[in-house]
């Protein structure tokens, strides 16, 4: 597998501008002769599809939801970073770049991250012009807040619904193009495979989720913006439909999958309440500004109500371990600390599967200090949401929180142009591995999705198309298309015909248990090796005993789930393998063997690279390739929050 990152030459700050000046163009009259497929309608997908259509290309956009507005970008709460320096607090493109690359624990590609910081300012302009109602100051100018421990206030926000407002902005741009007829929107269509002709991506095969029709679509270029794979853990903050199928299917057709073991765990989620739970709900990280995290010192106290545990029997473990950052320790560190105390048997809350997985987030001190009214003013909506879900009043008793899978930094490998190693296959947003390294900073995901969609892909895809002859795309009658359609039909038929005894959800839960236990917040060699064996066995069992009810020619949620779980099973093995071979701790990847008294120990000498996996065949383990990470202007250092 050839992994040419195509990083332009020159100083970091000039790379993107120099590169843009050299990218080839397509003349306006020729653009309508090219057909671009965009899969996914989140921030990256909607933004890219709308931009392509504005430029004059013929665009088809696909999403599995009933409307492009439902994509899971909508759930992001906190905000979006941009190096505008509106607050005059010393922010700059360089500083946003440095924060992002350090936040990623020096496992991201320098040139991509710098470009991200550069275009961040254009994103805010674009969104404001679209009517995104960002928070304002009384003077009418944009407001900012500091987020995720940043030393500057560079986060733009729209109440707690920034993702929603940004997605609706991109959706409105996309809708305008759909109304003009320049984008054909295919909702309730799921991409089930990628079609290659002469080694280039030339189309996709989809299933119409309403009619069950398997159809193929030809294009000159395919852009995949299908989000992350957090649902490989079954329980996560992702939407129910989020899946790895599009990217994993592309991987099976030859696309390298980079760093699948980089997964982000968010510390402040509402704990698991039972076996039938389907989803974990994120609570804004801002709660840690006023809440104190604790568990009982003595495991024997864990079953008691919090009020009966005296002050001197409580262990404020974040304040104890990280005196300078305390309750505001970064996401990965706070998450791991919570897991440790629960592993020691000191967790609180309901017993689920014989364990108590939760820690207290206590506002009583803040309420005494500031008064209940002030706490209500700051966090009222979050307290209401908490009560709605748990039935507990957090003004009267401490909240219970526990970490949950939130975002995945790994994804399809792409070069500087966001093109995968398959020519003509571009990948944007969370679906690629590009910008966040081993850990993502708060308010950076929205930034990356829109940067890719609005400001990178329109240029780089045009450059690729300039090299393709207009009108040269194959017809869907080509044998390559027929073969892939047959593959997809066979797979659907096989899933429907097994008629075993266990539901797709059973396998998804079983898969999640293995990945969360063994490849979650803390990983070790024996556990990962065991996980791979368990997943292989589970996969074998799945293909023998899964029961998929419903008809192939109608809305069939069980069939959809079965296909996604099947890909997650394969993918989970690759994720564990990646975690096993990365013999270091960095960002969200924590190997217990590699630590300094509880702190992650990176190994730059051996692992300053991206691991890129190549598919080798059904039932076989993928093969690892590497793209070395070259740092031209960054000094690698150790993250410490003690």
């Amino acid at each position: 597998m050839k992994l040419d990152s195509k990083i332009p030459a020159g100083p970091l700050a000039d790379k993107w501008n120099n590169h843009k000046a050299k990218l080839r163009l397509v003349n306006p009259a020729n653009r309508r002769k090219y057909h671009i497929i965009v899969v996914g309608s989140g921030l990256a997908g909607s933004a890219a599809a709308a931009s392509f259509a504005e430029m004059g290309y013929e665009v088809s956009c696909f999403c599995y939801q009933d409307s492009p507005r439902r994509a899971h970008s909508i759930a992001a709460q906190g905000g979006i970073n941009a190096a505008k320096n509106y607050q005059n607090d010393g922010d700059s493109v360089r500083r946003l770049f440095q924060d992002t690359i350090k936040g990623g624990d020096y496992r991201a590609r320098e040139a991509n991250v710098y470009r991200l910081a550069q275009v961040s300012v254009n994103i805010i302009d674009q969104c404001v012009a679209q009517g995104v109602p960002f928070a304002r100051e009384y003077g009418g100018l944009l407001a900012n807040r500091s987020f995720g421990g940043a030393q500057v206030s560079r986060t733009f926000y729209a109440r707690g619904q920034t993702g929603q407002q940004l997605l609706i902005g991109a959706y409105s741009a996309l809708s305008r193009q759909i109304g003009l007829g320049t984008v054909k929107m295919h909702t309730r269509h799921e991409m089930l495979d990628l079609v290659l002709v002469d080694g280039k991506a030339k189309g996709i095969v989809t299933r119409d989720l309403v009619t069950g029709a398997i159809e193929s679509w030809a294009a000159d270029v395919v852009v995949v913006c299908t989000g992350g794979y957090g649902n490989v853990f079954y329980l996560s903050t992702n939407a129910q439909g989020c899946n790895v199928t599009a990217t994993y299917r592309a991987h099976r057709r030859g696309a390298g999958f980079a760093n699948p073991c980089y997964t982000q765990i968010h510390p402040t989620c509402i704990p698991v309440h039972g076996e039938d739970q389907s989803k974990l709900t994120l609570m804004s990280e801002s709660l840690r500004n006023d809440g104190r995290v604790w568990v009982p010192k003595d495991a024997a106290d864990c079953g008691k109500p919090a009020a009966e545990i005296p002050e001197d029997a409580r262990d404020y473990f974040l304040e104890r371990k990280y005196p300078s950052y305390g309750n505001l320790a970064p996401r990965d560190i706070a998450s791991r600390a919570a897991k440790e105390v629960c592993d020691e048997g000191r967790g609180v809350g309901q017993l689920v599967d014989g364990k108590r997985l939760g820690v207290y987030l206590d506002f009583s001190a803040a309420i005494r200090r500031l008064g209940e009214a002030e706490i209500r003013a700051r966090y009222g909506n979050l307290f209401d949401m908490y009560e709605n879900i748990t039935g507990e009043n957090a003004y009267k008793q401490p909240m219970r929180i526990f970490p949950a899978v939130h975002y995945t930094m790994g994804g399809l490998w792409v070069d500087y142009n966001l093109q995968s190693n398959i020519p003509g296959l571009f990948v944007g947003g969370e679906a690629n591995f590009s910008d966040h390294g081993a850990n993502r900073l708060g308010a950076s995901a929205l930034m990356q999705g829109l940067a890719d969609g609005y400001f990178v892909l329109p240029y780089t895809v045009t450059d690729y198309l300039a090299g393709e002859k207009p009108g040269s795309r194959p017809s869907t009658d080509a044998p390559e298309f027929k073969a892939v359609v047959k593959d997809v039909n066979d797979r659907v038929a096989r899933l429907l015909s097994i008629n075993g005894t266990k539901s797709p959800r059973y396998y998804h839960k079983a898969l999640g248990k293995i990945t969360w236990e063994k490849c979650g917040m803390a990983r070790d060699k024996a556990g990962l090796e065991g996980a791979i064996r368990d997943l292989q066995a589970l996969r074998e069992d799945f293909w023998k005993n899964v029961k998929v009810v419903g008809a192939g020619d109608a809305l069939a949620p069980e069939l959809e789930r079965a296909g996604r779980v099947a890909d997650f099973l394969d993918f989970g093995i690759m994720m564990c393998l990646d975690a096993l071979t990365r013999e270091e701790s960095c960002g969200g990847h924590f190997r217990v063997e590699h630590q300094d008294a509880g702190e992650a120990k990176r190994d730059d000498a051996q692992f300053a690279h991206s691991a890129v996996w190549r598919w080798t065949g059904d039932g076989q383990l993928p093969v690892r390739h590497v793209e070395p990470l070259v740092y031209e202007e960054t000094q690698l250092s150790t993250r410490s929050y003690k």
Binding site: D66, P133, A135
Partner: protein
């Protein structure tokens, strides 16, 4: 199993759930669930029902859902006659079973409106909403040609009011709860979001007329001021947005009536 200090609270429920295939008439099916934890969400209860149906070798009930945290707007069930169920201000996914009683019979239906045809069981086609947005629910701005963001100051009260309207999640509960199947709350929310912002002024009248026209064509009913939409909106969007939609529509119609120059277009501009 879930235990809270040894105690487990569960409900025995009878469910009347709508079963329908696309283009065919539907009917209610009755099912019983023996032990639903009160901590489960309504959709998790539906998951449990579906898992039970799989064990019995029967087809599951199709229903729309995605984020399960109240923001994507995909979940859509009429529960005991109420879109999103008995708890005001929440979506179905945020409704928890502790709001129901042991032994209760719960009737679960799809959104009912001509503009929302049933695709299967509880899932409906809400593409009428998308068509309304496509007609005018946007501010035209080409990627990359936007002016510097702080060049257009927006007074905070205006930004806040736009945000109040922009919170709409497009779920369709307004249509489902309206005894006229009207989409005025949805359309009003979008009009209000864009029409009061300085950025939205250039297309204000055009947007209003186009969105209302498309709304009517999509088969939604008319507003007769019942107020059910506001009472069932999971984001508590108020009838104000409809009043403002009416005002802007009148304004646009009057302006349109008096604005024609009468000069025929020759094209080629």
């Amino acid at each position: 199993m879930v235990q809270d200090n040894g105690k487990e609270t569960t409900l025995a429920l009878r469910l009347r759930v709508w079963r329908q295939r696309r283009g065919q008439p539907g009917a209610f099916e009755e099912h019983a669930l023996a032990a639903v934890p009160t901590s489960a969400s309504f959709l998790e209860m539906m998951d449990m029902l579906n898992e039970q149906l799989i064990k019995e070798g029967k087809d599951t009930f199709a229903f729309d859902h995605d984020c399960r945290e109240g923001i994507c707007g995909m979940c859509s069930m009429t529960i005991n006659g109420m879109p999103h169920g008995p708890l005001p201000g929440v979506t179905t996914c945020q409704l928890h079973m502790r709001n129901f009683r042991d032994g209760e019979t719960i009737t679960v239906e799809p959104w009912r409106a001509r503009a929302f045809p049933v695709l299967k069981d509880l899932a409906v086609d809400r593409s009428g909403f998308d068509k309304v947005i496509q007609a005018g629910g946007f501010i035209t701005v080409r990627t990359g040609s936007a002016p510097e963001a702080n060049n257009i100051p927006v007074p905070k009260p205006v930004a806040d009011e736009a945000m109040d309207a922009a919170e709409c999640i497009g779920c369709g509960a307004c249509v489902a709860s309206c005894k006229n199947g009207s989409a005025m709350l949805f359309v009003g929310a979008k009009i209000n979001h864009l029409n009061i912002l300085p950025q939205g002024q250039a297309e204000r009248d055009r947007r209003t007329l186009a969105m209302v026209k498309t709304m009517d064509e999509a088969g939604f009913g008319n507003c007769t001021n019942y107020g059910e939409c506001q009472a069932h909106c999971p984001k508590s969007i108020t009838l104000d947005v409809i009043a403002k939609l009416n005002r802007d529509y009148l304004r646009a119609r009057v302006k349109e009536f008096f604005s024609s120059t009468g000069k025929p277009s020759k094209g080629g501009e």
